[in-house]
């Protein structure tokens, strides 16, 4: 069974600054996907970024990037130039390959961006 651990229940960051959210996971699989989802107060889960485990290059999406360390089973999310709209719960998630299987989520990190 896979587990995902987010050790930071809450974090805050000043607007325009950079923040890093941590995630570790445990699996015996060699190929898998990792994700970061954002959940604003509307409850709508929004995919932020995806990483395939077989890719060594870290994924980036505009201000969002990840630091994927496969051997250490670590998958952190860096948010650059934080904006007030980034305030939300952030969930790290795991999916076995091939895809289209249920996601395994961490407990989340509540991020507050302060003006």
């Amino acid at each position: 069974a896979q587990t995902v651990t987010q050790s930071q229940p809450e974090m805050s960051v000043q607007e325009a600054e950079t923040v890093t959210l941590s995630c570790t996971y445990d699996t015996s699989e060699n190929n898998y996907y990792l994700f970061w989802y954002k959940q604003p107060p509307s409850r709508q889960m929004i995919l932020v970024i995806r990483q395939e485990a077989y890719k060594q290059q870290n994924a980036t999406e505009n201000r969002f990037s990840v630091n994927f360390q496969k051997a250490a089973k670590s998958f952190s999310l860096k948010i650059s130039d934080s904006q007030l709209g980034d305030t939300a719960m952030y969930f790290c998630a795991f999916m076995k390959m091939p895809g289209n299987t249920p996601l395994v989520f961490g407990k989340g990190t509540r991020l507050s961006v302060i003006a």
């Binding site: 709508q44 889960m45 929004i46 969930f91 390959m97 091939p98 895809g99 289209n100 249920p102 996601l103």
Partner: protein
């Protein structure tokens, strides 16, 4: 439709009553997932439907929980004899299955409160 929709948005019920939660997936999506988000927890997988295959019920917490998907589209999650520990947000997601990976699109969830 434009996205995954769920109804009702909020449901308050008394302990011991049965409830039905509805999910309308994105048109044409063949896979549908139900997750539960308890307070302070990440999302927990409940059940997964893929096309005409038998559903994966491995995440259902007890036999009080059941789900069906009629006509390969709308799904209903039923909780019988509700308990206070069933209070949570129930999220539905859908995806197509054309490739090895397809993004799961989430609905806004139903917040269930059992008094």
């Amino acid at each position: 439709g434009a996205g995954v929709s769920q109804s009702p948005s909020n449901k308050v019920t008394e302990k011991g009553k049965d409830v039905e939660l509805r999910c309308d997936p994105i048109s044409g999506h063949t896979a549908l997932y139900w997750y539960r988000q308890s307070l302070g927890q990440g999302l927990e997988f409940l059940i997964y439907f893929q096309g005409n295959s038998a559903p994966d019920k491995s995440g259902l917490p007890s036999d009080r929980f059941s789900a069906e998907r009629t006509g390969g589209s709308v799904s209903t999650l039923t909780i019988q004899r509700t308990q206070q520990e069933d209070s949570a947000v129930y999220l539905c997601a859908s995806t197509d299955s054309l490739g090895s990976y397809n993004e799961q699109f989430f609905g806004p969830g139903t917040r269930l409160t059992v008094l």
